[in-house]
Subunit: 356 residues, 4 copies
Amino acid sequence: MGLVMHATATSEQVEAVVTHIEELGLKPHLSNGTERTIIGAIGEGMVASQYQDHFTIMAGVDRVIPISRPYKLASREFCPVNTQFQVGGAAFGGDGVVIIAGPCAVESRSQTLEIAYAVKEAGATMLRGGAFKPRTSPYSFQGLGEEGLEILADVRLATGLPVITEVMAPEQVPLVASFADMLQVGARNMQNYPLLNAAGESQHPVLLKRGLSATVEELLMAAEYILAHGNRRVALCERGIRTFETSTRNTTDINAIPVLKDLSHLPVILDPSHSTGHWQYVSAVARAAIAAGADGLIVEVHTHPEKALSDGGQSLKPERFAEMVRQVRAVALAVGRSLPEAINLPVRAANMAEVL
Amino acid sequence: MGLVMHATATSEQVEAVVTHIEELGLKPHLSNGTERTIIGAIGEGMVASQYQDHFTIMAGVDRVIPISRPYKLASREFCPVNTQFQVGGAAFGGDGVVIIAGPCAVESRSQTLEIAYAVKEAGATMLRGGAFKPRTSPYSFQGLGEEGLEILADVRLATGLPVITEVMAPEQVPLVASFADMLQVGARNMQNYPLLNAAGESQHPVLLKRGLSATVEELLMAAEYILAHGNRRVALCERGIRTFETSTRNTTDINAIPVLKDLSHLPVILDPSHSTGHWQYVSAVARAAIAAGADGLIVEVHTHPEKALSDGGQSLKPERFAEMVRQVRAVALAVGRSLPEAINLPVRAANMAEVL
Amino acid sequence: MGLVMHATATSEQVEAVVTHIEELGLKPHLSNGTERTIIGAIGEGMVASQYQDHFTIMAGVDRVIPISRPYKLASREFCPVNTQFQVGGAAFGGDGVVIIAGPCAVESRSQTLEIAYAVKEAGATMLRGGAFKPRTSPYSFQGLGEEGLEILADVRLATGLPVITEVMAPEQVPLVASFADMLQVGARNMQNYPLLNAAGESQHPVLLKRGLSATVEELLMAAEYILAHGNRRVALCERGIRTFETSTRNTTDINAIPVLKDLSHLPVILDPSHSTGHWQYVSAVARAAIAAGADGLIVEVHTHPEKALSDGGQSLKPERFAEMVRQVRAVALAVGRSLPEAINLPVRAANMAEVL
Amino acid sequence: MGLVMHATATSEQVEAVVTHIEELGLKPHLSNGTERTIIGAIGEGMVASQYQDHFTIMAGVDRVIPISRPYKLASREFCPVNTQFQVGGAAFGGDGVVIIAGPCAVESRSQTLEIAYAVKEAGATMLRGGAFKPRTSPYSFQGLGEEGLEILADVRLATGLPVITEVMAPEQVPLVASFADMLQVGARNMQNYPLLNAAGESQHPVLLKRGLSATVEELLMAAEYILAHGNRRVALCERGIRTFETSTRNTTDINAIPVLKDLSHLPVILDPSHSTGHWQYVSAVARAAIAAGADGLIVEVHTHPEKALSDGGQSLKPERFAEMVRQVRAVALAVGRSLPEAINLPVRAANMAEVL
């Protein structure tokens, strides 16, 4: 950490700062400029950064400048090679691009199964669907809960698609982990630390969504909470940030993709459904994400979006989703990535009958 | 809800929208402009608003415009009279101004007691102090946990000050409620719905902090979650929002004070410590809050901020806090509010000895 | 425009609003909901929108909701076909993708010529370079002014590349237009209306950059100022918006590309140099822009960025720029767009000698 | 400036940076941490800050950290004493609080005169009114132009109130300065550098409004442009910033008041009309501004806001403005400031007849 003293700081004030640095077990380093003195406090990065507030308040100190990044396990410096892991047939962080798709919410067995088949046919390799739904209004549909988890498990059985679903509270983690292949920590919970700790302890793969107003650095520090439990299977998800612009629901921070790939070794997924909020713009932003270097996409698809219990306005119909996948595949190839061809499924009706 | 059709919408598209409105049990109302058709969907406010997404995706629909506010119990229309309630000696929502003060984190019994006496002498009527601390870094001090709650209870006994402390997870609510007079739901958890539900069920008074990037409307909808459990003792807390400005930690949204008093009947508290992030600016913003109509303040105070385990840079020393209270009292009187005189405490050392 | 009355509005207040609508030559249209009355004021779109403020202040009115878009000439509804125009060899708005490149500032004849040759070889079809530089600090290099314009004209002669440069004040427009093929209105001047009017009157092609905190709608209204003078050759430029995120200089609003293509017929260009502020991230965001449907790019290139008089940190070196063009070409083909092959220039040294 | 090297930087890269620092005439200062090397580049503050971009692009450099503030004349360090100046009867920067009021736009002689008398009676000491109006839409009322300036001059004569009005282009400055006592540079033009230079050269008092998304630092650097011409009579105006919050037109950055008073010696004025955008919230925010330490207010007042040609929704009627002044006076006294009593004007009708 660097301490910039006021131009008017006295030598006593400089001395007091130096003394306190030494008391904390750090090494002081003075640099006398023409106008100001700057004092470095040298020590193992994250140790020093915890003491910043001590100095902001000391007399004569103008500003405290953090030097080391405040995360470690999530950093590219700590692990120069891309983290790769497999969730069912979906490979995160490799050459291939992961396509996760499905309804915003699990509404019924038949709805989920119908959508799951459709997205699998179109090329998705993982199914999304919410059983526990965080909703802004207490009067909105809050998800089917455990029944939704059971439906997801059945649909996985029928389709072979691994399943990701959101977990909203620490005590739900064991339950959700017993049904789902990957846990999703939603944007509103990115700094819900008891939940991050529980997700870390579960040792289950986690998709961590960026908070609505979280910086890239805060996203990496939230990942650090999970990684600190020895759980290395973490993927980061950009899903749009809140800005002044109102023509879309959120602003896709496309810069975050190369920035995250630069600062971290973790796979990066983009959610163009939430980051735009309008189905019309989803394909364009999905293509952009892959062009920018994202490792995958998570997309909302619904067979009857006009009757969806949530997020219908940003859900693609299956045929539009299939077209999106075709476009994304072309872009993936152009940037040296691959995306599996859409799979020819076995007789579909039969499977559905078995499950329903 | 109002539906603005595209200028090019066909009569079939208009018809389909009208039919779907009727299917949902709402009443359609057409208005043919010179360029576009607008269709109202009339029904009990919050019912209609749940179906917005249905329409965004229908062919020919350009935009969906919400008409009714999406909250009810929190609204001034629902309850035209200011909500008032008492927590120990602190009266929320009345003529008087509440001053809550104390350390960011409970660090030890002696530290908490010393600060509690100091803030009480200066005029505070409630003590704050974190036992469970949400920290951006997993490597930072995370609070004393249950031991911190015990300290708070002891200090309440010694000083007579009611106590507020943060609760971070739904399963902590019963424990925290058994020690504290008021629960604080922090900014990061404003949309942690399981926590809001648990706080609502507890029937304990709640201070609900506005999320870093939550709109005023979202704050009121978070309050609605608590109110929906019949828990009416909710106070709202503006604590600064995240903007592009970096000279302060957050941007105090002073507008939110008259806006919240206009839209809602709930008491409004301001936290100038977090909303500025620099002790130098705390008093100015505290005065501004009361001038703008806030019902109280929550302020971080520390006897040794340069050694505080968290947030030292924004904590006031007791003598500065006392000066702040004097200034705030003058402003309160100027706007027709009152603030109790600083209390002459009984022999302090004795009390401390008893407790320590 | 729609007027939502308060739930408590009296019939006299409704009557007064209706009367005032009629006074303004608009047609009122009442819709009585279960809780509130909504009044439409029907008239030619942009006429109605001018009177919004009249109604916000009338007793009983809760909110005024704009219905028509406040721009016309810039809208897709007004002109369903993409606007296309040619500036020298650069075609805006067609199947091909425009690549504009060059130094942030014209620093000298030799620097500009060297960079111009390099970007032409790499595939650029237009040269950028600032002669008048808007700088945050009055103590920074402010550009060579008219001398810079002369250099640009000479370099155009030598390389055959058309030239775009920024104009900062209305009285500079004729001068700049006499040297440059296309005028650039910078982000800081997006709402400098005398400048927009002068650019409109000039009938010169204009690249209009989005303001740092301008909404998509405001960008289109700024374009409307130029278009209203009968100047149809306007291209829009997304160059990043200001948000809370600090890991990049600005946040590239990639959503704005499909949104602008949807709402308007004007060509859309992206500036990844300013929208990221770090050369490391320029190529990724350039690829994303073309994948999302942008009609072109404007990129800062410098042969010696570490000695550039401005914006060195976000400038690509020629070889990196050439690599970026190769990547962008692959993505363009993947989304059905084209990009001319890099041109084999005539003997370069000779040309340089002639000009220098 | 401080240069943080990458943890992996080689000694050759460190050497190259040191050499370049010396080439620029600055003095290098190395500090070897446990993980990284940090290199200070020492020289006169603003000199060093111009070279930041040189280093961001050099191999091995991770980040460049500015140390000195990039403005000088505007800084409190340069001038520890508050700047004070007089414009007619209005004293900026002293103990008293300046109240500027009037219509958004000069619409007619009678309207302006009527409002001017009303605000003077209520306690205003300066009249505002726009003759040249920057409007988002080219189809909105753009102001009366020179005729508006003549009206303002006449009304000044009749009422004795000094006049402030906006100037939008450098070539308008001499004209506007010949009519008005103080020039207003609007928010949209805060970084219109030719205009700032012209305002500086005019040596006329200037009210500089903060841009919609300008940081406090950028506001001070814009002031620096004016001050650099030897024009010391500059007042800064906070008028709300653009954030995600939509319940008000802008977000009043109340923090900016103590921050600006801390960093600069220039007077600070708040515009609660634009910073809230709703007349209902103007008084509350006006009181807050004075409580926070602002040196004055600029407020929109209209006798018939429902018929105003612009900004009616945020204009106070004269009686509400008078009430606001009474409230502000009470707060001013509470924080040790003064505000002149409302003036008993001479026979009003007579004056009006003379002028009309």
